[in-house]
Subunit: 168 residues, 2 copies
């Protein structure tokens, strides 16, 4: 496989994976394109490379910037805006984890907290079973959140040394 095909394949696969995880395919493809791009690209170039419209490009680039995965780059002497991606995969992963936690897990946790205050006879077997189930889920998510926070705050090196050993 040559470099051009390999890049196309990477963009394709990254896009499919994104869509399976609830991330818009185009957004994932733009991200992939910029991860493997040798230089920052303009909106124009992104459009061409992925055969997508200007509007689509603009919206998804904005979303990616919002996630912290892309940055605008100023190129002296150029009117156009250039975009570049974070290439450190550890940082990419933590950024994505952080965003998804914030957007999807946190609201669920909020709901769980409300649900543990369900009223009713505490001796009623049904009420008891429900609050216990919710309690267990809360305990689990609480733990998962702590782990995630630690990972997000951690330095890459820490991951590749300590963390690695502990899980072997």
């Amino acid at each position: 496989m040559n470099l051009t095909d390999a890049k196309a394949q990477f963009i394709q696969s990254w896009g499919i994976m994104g869509s399976q995880w609830g991330i818009n395919r185009t957004m994932a493809q733009i991200h992939a394109l910029l991860i493997i791009a040798a230089h920052p690209l303009t909106a124009e170039e992104i459009m061409e490379q992925l055969s997508i419209s200007r509007g689509n490009t603009n919206m998804n680039v904005r979303e990616l910037i919002d996630w912290g995965l892309l940055q605008k780059v100023i190129v002296p002497g150029e009117r156009k805006e250039f975009f570049t991606a974070e290439k450190d995969i550890w940082k990419v992963a933590t950024l994505i984890m952080y965003q998804r936690k914030k957007r999807e897990l946190d609201p669920m946790v909020k709901v769980l907290n409300q649900l543990s205050e369900v009223e009713g006879d505490k001796n009623d077997a049904d009420v008891k079973a429900f609050t216990e189930t919710i309690g267990n889920i809360k305990k689990f998510t609480g733990q998962a959140e702590k782990t995630l926070d630690t990972m997000i705050k951690a330095e890459e090196n820490w991951f590749w040394s300590s963390f690695l050993k502990l899980f072997k």
Copy 2:
């Protein structure tokens, strides 16, 4: 909030979260319904509780069984099939992680392996940059997979004791 409302709210939120993570909303709702159900339910009851069709129920229940999240239950003296969910949240989490790894991460890893064999001048800066990027992603996913495997194989207690301490 009373028990009935709380249950409805839980099903609703679990469904929304599922859809944000690329899991069909109805599938997540059926799962939620059975997690908080006091007894195993029939397809009939699932249909009624969620106001969904027979076909939809059947398809999503099958998928959930395929994921290992639901089981058929034989109730003596009953013709109908009953369904029950795994209620241990740790087991639920590991089952989901295992399935998603298998279905979505593994194919990506396969592609990455192909991509690292890109042909071309190894001194070409572009080829070099590409293979390096792919190499880094592979290293990362390899590590993530190991971690996941360990978690999947681990006992719940281990998570709640050792793992917990290490991440504090």
